[in-house]
């Protein structure tokens, strides 16, 4: 029988069926952070359980830590940081904490350390664990109760998802990035359009992406509701761990980790690459985006009342006017960072736009490299100088920072941010904060312009 990549991954990891219709699936590797794991560890204590296979877990500090300096955490954040280290020591689990060069955002650290390769099943108490689909690995986010379950059993209770193929037909224009591709997919499929599905991305425009770009695409697949995202494993995916600390230490070569030719999907979505332009979000859901030369939607009385109410609410929250040109939207801040776009390739793309240019007066521009090693690599390439000369605040520490504002990078009420992150939800970057999602290069263009701006204007000048 012809099988999809998703079905092969589930089949290969199935431990047994359970009487109620679920199955147990085996987790090859599990990642933890400081904020979704404490109650899982205390659950083990209450139930007097031990960790099934301590060597198959990694814990990192990334969500609450300050990135302005390694110190100065409030007592509650410090407690989370110390609690994770204590739990890892107690249970003999690898811990990459503050001050460790390997520390950083979990989904940046894992590929950097060579801890993901095709055919693996990876779980983590973080929704953006879909990132690992870039490698032809099955990665997905879990809640804290499930973190406890993985710790105690190395398995999860699992229900097979439906499958969706998203095919990008043709080649994208040179100015279109992986971020634009996935934002377009979210716009077309809708914020909950892939609930209950595992989504496989295919087409030449996908395989033309670097591993970094593929990770951006799979990372944000959760914004369309996908519980898993996948891209078939090619030579590039297999080789990504070469020369990294865990490179060559494991290999899951029991399958090729591609969908069989002619395998059937439950749903197929086709998007023409030529329909994809550099995008920005205007609203409070990641599917509310338009091309940078487009406009905030008009109120259209022909639409259902519910849709009109949602539109009005989003436009009001964002402090915009219906029909406004998005490139007229002035910004207060620019943020480059997050598990979506803080890898070295993202930093290089933004630096290319910023070189010999200055951030507009009054714009607070921040860049937080995804990991300590990413920062060091960027500094070795001189990127830090380009960012600081332009007027960006180059952060010495790594973490999620202003993507979800769990540390002290909290945007003010009404503050408008051009952001390379993944969610423009109400209050995401701070109570009342207004987020516009876009690629790192577009954030750079916006920072220079003081308003949302078209990256192509800068590329034409530069190239």
């Amino acid at each position: 029988m012809k099988r999809t990549l998703y079905d092969k991954l589930v089949d290969a990891h199935k431990v047994c069926d359970l009487p109620d219709g679920d199955m147990l699936i085996y987790v090859d590797f599990h990642i933890m952070n400081e904020y979704t794991s404490p109650q899982a560890f205390s659950g083990l204590d209450v139930k007097k359980l031990k960790v099934w296979r301590p060597e198959a877990h990694l814990a990192v500090i990334d969500h609450v830590n300050a990135t302005k300096s390694a110190e100065h955490h409030d007592a509650a954040s410090q407690l989370l940081i110390e609690n994770l280290e204590a739990n890892c020591t107690k249970h003999d689990i690898a811990f990459y904490g503050l001050g460790d060069k390997r520390q950083g955002i979990e989904h940046v650290v894992v590929p950097e350390q060579g801890l993901v390769s095709p055919g693996m099943l990876i779980a983590c108490g973080d929704s953006h664990t879909t990132t690992y689909g870039a490698f032809g690995a099955l990665g997905f986010g879990i809640g804290t109760s499930e973190v406890e379950h993985v710790l105690a059993t190395q398995t999860l209770r699992y229900k097979r998802l439906k499958t969706m193929l998203v095919e990008i037909e043709g080649d994208t224009a040179p100015s279109v990035t992986a971020k634009d591709i996935i934002m377009k997919v979210v716009q077309v499929v809708g914020a909950g359009g892939a609930n209950g599905f595992a989504v496989e991305f295919a087409g030449p425009a996908i395989l033309a992406q670097s591993m970094s770009g593929r990770m951006t695409i799979c990372n944000m697949a959760v914004e369309l509701g996908a519980r898993a995202a996948l891209i078939s494993a090619d030579e590039q995916a297999w080789r990504m761990s070469d020369g990294r600390p865990h490179g060559g230490k494991f290999r899951f070569d029991n399958e090729e980790w591609v969908s069989d030719e002619g395998a059937e999907f439950d749903a197929v979505v086709k998007i023409s690459a030529t329909d994809i332009a550099p995008l920005v979000s205007w609203g409070t859901s990641p599917d509310q985006s338009v091309p940078i030369d487009g406009h905030v939607p008009e109120f259209d009385d022909g639409k259902p009342a519910k849709e009109m109410a949602a539109l009005r609410r989003a436009i009001d929250y964002m402090g915009l006017e219906a029909g406004q040109a998005v490139n007229s939207i002035a910004i207060d801040s620019a943020f480059i960072g997050s598990c979506t776009n803080s890898r070295i390739e993202d930093l290089r793309a933004a630096a290319k736009i910023l070189k010999n240019r200055k951030v507009a007066a009054g714009v607070n521009a921040i860049i937080v490299p995804g990991s300590t090693l990413t920062r060091m690599q960027a500094e070795a390439e001189g990127l830090d100088v380009i960012f600081t000369d332009a007027g960006f605040d180059w952060r010495p520490e790594s973490g999620c920072s202003m993507c979800l504002a769990m540390n002290n990078d909290i945007a003010m009420d009404g503050e408008r941010i051009a952001s390379s992150t993944n969610r423009n939800f109400e209050g995401r970057q701070g109570r009342g904060a207004r987020t516009h999602l876009m690629s790192p290069a577009m954030v750079a263009a916006a920072a220079i312009s003081g308003r949302l701006a078209d990256v192509r204007d800068f590329q034409t000048e530069a190239e």
Binding site: Y35, G43, T153, Q154, G427
Partner: protein, 201 residues
């Protein structure tokens, strides 16, 4: 664990209510599951001065007594934070009726005994209308029969067998899964050495 869930229903028709809205991040900096009722829907419920926002449904009579929510599409999207479910439980919410839920939120709800019936758009529209009436409506959710009743109206709902069984039995999944330890070991015995991840310390 009861097979019936009953309570006054409140309408919350917004689509795409994400877990950042259900539980803002400032309430997440904690190592326990407790004390989260205060954070639940905080930015919708409470204004800058700490006073209740009069326009939010759960602050209005009669819905300040509600224990069931009828919500818009794609409820619980975004972050995996289980704190959202713990907070809803602590606020006294026992069931949330919608047309679709985000996957991680759905699983988190099951783990904590929060019932999430999925209904058709037509049944949803009726329930939303009934819940929005001046006096609200009492809803009865029969988990065993997969049926919702509100006054004279009743409709079937969808729930996968494993979630249904988990809500009825109220077992601890972790402890129950350890009954399959032999299966897990047998699976592990099929793995080659190259398929056993060992993270460098």
């Amino acid at each position: 664990m009861p097979k019936l869930v009953t309570g006054l229903a409140a309408p919350l028709p917004l689509s795409n209510v994400d877990t950042d809205v259900i539980m803002p991040k400032r309430f997440l900096i904690t190592i326990t599951r407790e004390g989260l009722a205060e954070g639940t829907f905080a930015d919708l419920r409470i204004d800058d001065t700490g006073a209740n926002r009069p326009d939010f449904v759960l602050n209005k009579d009669p819905w300040n007594e509600a224990t069931v929510l009828v919500v818009g599409d794609n409820f619980g999207c975004g972050s995996s934070r289980e704190h959202a479910v713990w907070g809803l439980n602590q606020l006294g919410i026992t069931a949330i009726i919608g047309t679709s839920f985000a996957g991680i939120f759905y699983d988190n709800a099951r783990k904590n005994g929060l019932t999430l019936p999925i209904v058709t758009p037509e049944a949803h529209a009726t329930l939303m209308e009934l819940a929005s009436g001046d006096k609200g409506v009492d809803i009865l959710i029969d988990i065993e029969q997969l049926k919702i009743t509100a006054g004279d109206f009743s409709a079937p709902f969808q729930m996968d067998a494993a979630t249904q069984s988990s809500l009825i039995k109220g077992e601890d999944d972790t402890l129950d899964s350890l009954n399959y330890s032999d299966n897990i070991r047998a699976y592990e015995n099929t793995l080659s050495d190259a398929m056993r991840v060992s993270v460098l310390k």
